[in-house]
């Protein structure tokens, strides 16, 4: 990530400004989530749809028509997939409630067996009655989980549907008019800062594209690695589970834990008499996470943001504390953009030559405007 500046990174004052701006944006995030989520969806979608649109433009189609065509095809596929999913889900509506409870009970059974085995080996755990307490709590939890957690979650997801539909609509305009918007912003910049600012906009666009394209690639790599492993283990719905876990992994920490739980619950329930299957699934999940952290992530998303690991981890905590799960998911891209903007603004505003040129241009304009007034 470059700032188009003088080659030096931002100074301490600029860094304080960058971190403060990130915190302010996080504080605002909860209030404008209805807009941020579809806007981000549109951004990710525009990056995903840009390669086929580019191919159409290579074939000679004008930009506007290429944008309209790829967005329409995407919408048709989306609507078709939604109809198939609704028909499939509708036929199994009665199974959903019992299904969630069945998978939770499968997980509880695995946990109970594991803790009982641990109690048999280590008396200190047996004296604490860990297995009994955990099993009682899990039984109570699984009995009410659908009513207390799953139903409100589904209702909130349905409430998000109109905002989600805004995503493809916005993506079409990003694809079609992105360049015009770029020009519109550039017109507001004074002559002296013009070249440097345009270089900054180009960097911001590059950073955003690298980050979100990296996320898409990362999800694809995670899906292939985990899906292949689960398929070899013989788990039903291996590729769907792997895809869900890969998407959940976009939320740092919490997403990975949720993805792992999902895989373990399915393994424990579908193979109730073979607890080794669940342990293999956990081992596989940990292996894929390690691959993700040390191979896939640096090769995709990591290179795009180029943030110091300590800053990244601290800001993840700040993001989670200030804006919950959306804060956790969005703090790194927000910090990445704030860093590029802060570094470039710092480089532009502290450049004495550019300031002098801008001052000179203002004096010339003032003199030209008042030439006939003397």
């Amino acid at each position: 990530m470059t700032a188009g500046g003088n080659g030096h990174g931002p100074g301490p004052v600029a860094w304080i400004g960058i971190l403060a701006a990130t915190c302010l944006l996080l504080a605002a995030l909860n209030h404008i989530l209805w807009l941020v989520v579809p806007a981000l969806m549109a951004l990710v979608l525009s990056y995903a749809l840009y390669p086929p649109m580019q191919r159409l433009m290579y074939a000679g189609l004008p930009r506007a028509r290429a944008a309209a065509l790829v967005t329409t095809v995407f919408l048709v596929v989306l609507v078709a997939a939604a109809l198939v999913l609704m028909a499939w889900a509708g036929a199994r509506a009665e199974d959903w409630q019992s299904g969630v409870e069945r998978y939770l009970q499968g997980g509880a059974l695995l946990l109970e067996r594991t803790l009982s085995a641990a109690e048999a080996r280590w008396p200190i755990i047996a004296r604490a009655h860990v297995a009994e307490s955990v099993t009682t709590w899990l039984n109570e939890f699984s009995a009410t989980v659908v009513e207390r957690h799953v139903q409100p979650l589904l209702v909130s997801l349905i409430a998000w549907l109109p905002a989600a539909l805004l995503g493809p609509f916005l993506a079409f305009f990003i694809l079609r008019d992105g360049r015009r918007f770029h020009g519109f912003i550039a017109r507001a910049v004074p002559n002296a800062y013009f070249e440097r600012t345009l270089a900054l906009l180009h960097d911001m666009h590059g950073t955003g594209r690298a980050y979100f394209t990296g996320l898409i690639k990362l999800a694809a790599l995670d899906t292939v690695a985990l899906g292949a492993g689960l398929w070899v283990l013989g788990l039903p719905g291996a590729w769907v589970l792997a895809f869900l876990a890969a998407i959940l992994a976009w939320v740092p920490y919490i997403g990975s834990i949720a993805g792992c739980l999902l895989v373990v619950l399915v393994a424990a329930t579908d193979f109730p008499n073979d607890p080794a299957m669940a342990y293999w699934a956990v081992a596989l999940f940990l292996l894929v996470r390690a691959l993700d952290d040390f191979v896939f992530l640096p090769a995709t998303v990591g290179r795009s943001l180029n943030l110091h690991p300590l800053v990244s981890v601290l800001m993840l905590f700040v993001g989670g504390a200030m804006a919950g799960v959306p804060g956790l998911a969005l703090v790194l891209p927000i910090l990445g953009v704030a860093t590029v903007v802060g570094a470039a603004l710092s480089a532009i505003l502290t450049d004495r030559r550019l300031r002098a040129r801008h001052g000179h241009a203002l004096r010339l304009r003032a003199a030209a405007a008042s030439a006939d007034l003397a």
């Binding site: 580019q54 433009m57 013009f194 270089a199 010339l364």
Partner: protein
């Protein structure tokens, strides 16, 4: 009925067509190029770019005159560009430092083509980008030949 609204863009396309760089482009391709250009206006004496500054863009003079000189020596011009000519073309190839300063001699309107936009054009509209690139190579070749034979052409 609203044909008068198209007067300015058409004139701009004609101006672009007269430039060596865009001479081989079709009307549709010229419109694409026009879409990525930024229009700026400079007053007499205003600096467009400094010598040593990272070059990010090519400048096309629409109206007015632009002086190319060593930094701080406007009285010793290296070249002067009038409407229909361009300067700073090396920025389309790399972001190296500018070899000289550019400043407006009279009120000048310039169109700016950014190197990054040109690279995007090369990716998305490769036929168009290659034609510009070929014209740019020919232009640079002419300048090199002129330098070798002692006849200087516009810098930088």
């Amino acid at each position: 009925m609203l044909g008068f609204l198209r007067t300015t863009p058409d004139r701009r396309l004609e101006e672009l067509k007269r430039l060596v760089l865009f001479a081989a482009l079709s009307a549709r391709e010229l419109q694409i190029v026009q879409g990525v250009l930024h229009e700026r206006e400079y007053l007499p004496g205003e600096v467009i770019f400094d010598q040593g500054e990272a070059g990010n863009a090519l400048y096309i003079v629409r109206t007015g005159r632009v002086l190319i000189c060593r930094q701080g020596h406007p009285e010793q011009p290296i070249a002067e560009h009038e409407a229909g000519s361009f300067f700073g073309e090396l920025a389309l190839l790399d972001s190296g430092p500018r070899a000289a300063q550019a400043r407006a001699v009279e009120t000048s309107r310039v169109a700016v083509l950014f190197g990054s936009d040109f690279l995007s054009l090369l990716e998305s509209e490769s036929h168009l980008g290659n034609r510009i690139l070929l014209q740019l190579a020919r232009h640079l070749g002419r300048r090199l030949r002129g330098t070798l034979t002692g006849r200087s052409e516009g810098m930088p």
